[in-house]
Amino acid sequence: MKIKLGLLAAAAAVVVSLPAHAQVEIQWWHSMGGALGEWVNDLAKDFNAKQKDYKVVTTFKGSYPESMTAAIAAFRAGNAPHILQVFEVGTATMMASKGAVKPVAEVMKASGLKFDPNAYISAVSGYYTAPNGQMMSLPFNSSTTVFYYNKDAFKAAGIDAEKAPATWPEVALAAAKLKAAGHKCPFTTSWQSWTQLESFSAWHNVEFATKRNGFGGLDTRLAFNTPLHVRHIENLANMAKQGLFVYKGRNNTPDATFPSGECAMYTGSSGLYGSVKANAKFAYGIAPLPYYPDVTGAPQNTVIGGASLWVMSGRKAEEYKGVAAFFNYLSSPEVQAASHQRTGYLPITMASFKVTEDSGFYKKNPGTDVAVTQMVRKVTDKSRGIRLGNFVQIRTIIDEEMEQIWAGKKSPKEGLDAAVQRGNEQLERFEKANKG
């Protein structure tokens, strides 16, 4: 009898000490290095601490192209992660890989958790939503194009530093004054395709590509060689000839030129704010992107950049429940507001924008609300975002042709026409490859 009791007790002890069920691990591959990497890790840590069913494991997988390659390799070998962070220009590629991804809306619906797509800022989530309204990926780190200017340099050139140039003609005027005062680099830009063509188009409510920038079908074709676009690039090319606009490289290579004081006016990502705040030894201002006042509908809204979180297919149903729970956590107003304030990335829900506003954050950090107010508007069909296949190649083609224009080797019209023609070849190929 004693032995039986003893055995029973022992068995009970063993049963009690076993966890109710094993913790489900969710693999999240990302490309956030440096301080942003710590942000990602903190998000996962916080979520893991708040509940016991799921554990999000983060892995840094290199830059965006590198992590994309890693995920593709893993998927082809049968061991893809659950969540993958993909840059915005990879959206069409992800969507075209039927069977490789699971739309976020589907994942959320299957989990039974409440999910309201209207809670998201449409200018942000629209980029990652299918034409039928189904959200494909969760916006994660989104920034948009803003205009930075060096107030001290303005004062030194005799320009009113509290009034940011709002239109492109004003920018040209300010640049001329800066140059006259001896400034070597009045204006420059980063991500020239994004700032001067893509966001430019949305800001003026014109199409960057046909079929609503690609949302309407794979037979979209580029449209950024209209008279308006040519006029704008011509203005920039003239500025370049006069030394008012100095080309400083592709992508975000020119980023260091503004905080260091080298260039006085800068169109770039709202995410640069952190670097500007940390490194600039002068008074600076942040303003919305300049526009042409004679274009009706301008200013509309700008286009986002950054990345979103995609869910890969091929995993178990209960693991997807964990993904849904995590996404729910990420979208909550408090977490969103905290992320927004910490990183400078846009808040993705209206609620988190309000929370941040109410907390007085924008008053304490003037200029940080510019990015958001540019986005918190009703989008039109032409300004929702861009969905093009082979977008990576198209951006490179644009970079190449623009460089020819800045170097004076091609006229703005020739350059833009060539870019459109070469880009359309890419779109045709993508269409052909994804017809079936």
């Binding site: 390659t69 593709i72 998927f75 490289g249 190449e400 170097a407 080797k409 490859a433």
Partner: protein, 295 residues
């Protein structure tokens, strides 16, 4: 291959056993995957491989119809020639002098080999710090001297930059092997020539250089292969193939298409073309240049 040994060992099975480890590894980890990768040159796939289509020689046709691709042949030829000749001649010069002196030899040699240890990821950033048109340390100095450095828009300067970056890495590499080669030249031969009255210049060209020729041949072949295949990382960090496409050499396009644009069929087709070219080049070197090598 022309060069052969007069004397060798007889065995049916031993050579195969000796080669087995290397053959096994390259069989499993190179040829099998490489075959699959190259097969993709005849296909068109989406990035994740969920839909595959056989398109025959379409990818190749597309390549040769692209004017920018044809232009990159010339860019590649210029680049590779410059990198190989500069890399070998500069490092040979340094190695010969480093071999000559006694004081400070260890310091010089360490400092000249050490840069090879800079990780490519870091090297890319350093070149930016040095050559960025206005804030770069070197471009600042150049401007003080009157040279307006702007490799972002000036094609010749961009080419100069990538040649410099590629050669820089190879100097350490070539230097190391030249040193090793110089060490194995018997001192007695040099002494004998000196006693005969030959000056250092004569001695170099009649004794040292010929005896160094196996190493030089090795480095020539390796440097050319390096210039053709291993330099895309440097170009990616320094110029990304710009301005325009003026520094986009063949392998850079292979890397870009396969890795960034995820056009696997196109990238594979280009790899085939590139391999054919370099194999041909190497065969030519082995057939004609190796004749002049003294073993």
């Amino acid at each position: 291959m022309a060069a052969e040994k007069r004397v060798w060992f007889q065995s049916r099975w031993l050579p195969w056993v000796l080669m087995a480890p290397q053959l096994a590894i390259i069989g499993v980890f190179f040829f099998w995957p490489a075959g699959q990768a190259l097969l993709q040159s005849l296909q068109q796939q989406d990035a994740f491989g969920t839909s595959t289509e056989w398109v025959g020689l379409d990818n190749f046709r597309r390549l040769f119809a692209d004017a920018t691709y044809l232009a990159s042949f010339k860019t590649t030829a210029v680049f590779s020639l410059l990198v190989a000749t500069l890399g070998i001649s500069v490092s040979l010069l340094l190695a010969v002098f480093a071999d000559r002196i006694i004081k400070g030899a260890l310091a010089y040699k360490t400092l000249l080999i050490w840069p090879y240890a800079v990780a490519p990821a870091v090297a890319g950033v350093l070149w930016l710090f040095m050559f960025a048109p206005s804030i770069g340390v070197v471009s600042y100095g150049l401007r003080k001297m009157g040279v307006d450095w702007n490799h972002l828009l000036n094609s010749q300067q961009a080419m100069t930059l990538i040649v410099m970056a590629a050669v820089w890495k190879q100097i350490s590499y070539n230097f190391l092997f030249f040193l090793a080669g110089l060490q194995s030249i018997p001192k007695s031969l040099i002494e004998a020539a000196a006693i005969d009255g030959a000056g250092p210049w004569r001695r170099f060209w009649t004794i040292v250089f010929p005896l160094l020729s196996p190493t030089t041949f090795f480095l020539l072949v390796i440097n050319i292969v390096y210039a053709f295949f291993d330099t895309f990382g440097i170009i990616d960090s320094a110029t990304e193939g710009g301005p325009g496409k003026d520094t986009a050499i063949l392998v850079y396009k292979v890397y870009y298409d396969g890795f960034k644009a995820l056009d696997l069929g196109g990238s594979a087709a280009q790899s085939v073309v590139l391999m054919v070219i370099v194999v041909a080049l190497t065969v030519v070197q082995f057939r004609f240049v190796e004749k002049r090598v003294n073993y």
